[in-house]
Amino acid sequence: DAGVTQSPTHLIKTRGQQVTLRCSPISGHKSVSWYQQVLGQGPQFIFQYYEKEERGRGNFPDRFSARQFPNYSSELNVNALLLGDSALYLCASSSGTSGGAAGETQYFGPGTRLLVL
């Protein structure tokens, strides 16, 4: 079985542009969470979706948005990019409703490395 997949692997954008990152969860997993990991820091929670509904939102500006599709894949959109948005964006999937917090294991994808110039 394939693990969590993310695309693209790397991305270079300039300030003010918009970016869309994609994630496909493990087959059978209905929950997808997005994290931002700035170099030297731990991942920071952005969103969690379950069954196409937003179930959790971290402390990120409205420039960040996400959605989940009927096949449980997900997209993260970031508008009006800033230099500070440069980071590794991680997607994680789990089988339960709470994004792993309740006890089901959360599996991470390889991430998308975004560089904003």
């Binding site: 731990g42 991942p43 920071q44 929670f45 959790g56 709470s98 294991t105 991470f108 390889p110 991430g111």
Partner: protein
């Protein structure tokens, strides 16, 4: 404000040494504490600790949760070069479906 603090930030040891990594937390409505190993990109799951399972062991790795002290330790015995990685601690709460991660401990094992 919920927060997770890991120490030390980095550690360099020789093969065969035993290491102890620390994680302390201040969160509202604690639910679970997880340890991950991050080598290049994707963090890989090691352990989950909850009120009903405060001690876990897998091979040379073991972890204990101290709910009174609001902390956890991750022990690695007989370290190998393949243990070199960043070890992340994450805490889940009952309020909100998210994990709070620490900044990680960077472990380097020298042959």
């Amino acid at each position: 404000e919920d927060k997770v603090v890991q120490s030390p930030l980095s550690l360099v040891v020789h093969e065969g040494d035993t290491v102890t990594l620390n994680c302390s937390y201040e969160v509202t409505n604690f639910r679970s504490l997880l340890w991950y190993k991050q080598e290049k990109k994707a963090p890989t799951f090691l352990f989950m600790l909850t009120s009903s399972g405060i001690e876990k062991k897998s091979g040379r790795l073991s972890s204990i949760l101290d709910k009174k002290e609001l902390s956890s330790i991750l022990n690695i015995t007989a370290t190998q070069t393949g243990d070199s990685a960043i070890y992340l601690c994450a805490v889940g709460t009952h309020t909100g479906n998210q994990f709070y991660f620490g900044t990680g401990t960077s472990l380097t094992v020298i042959p």
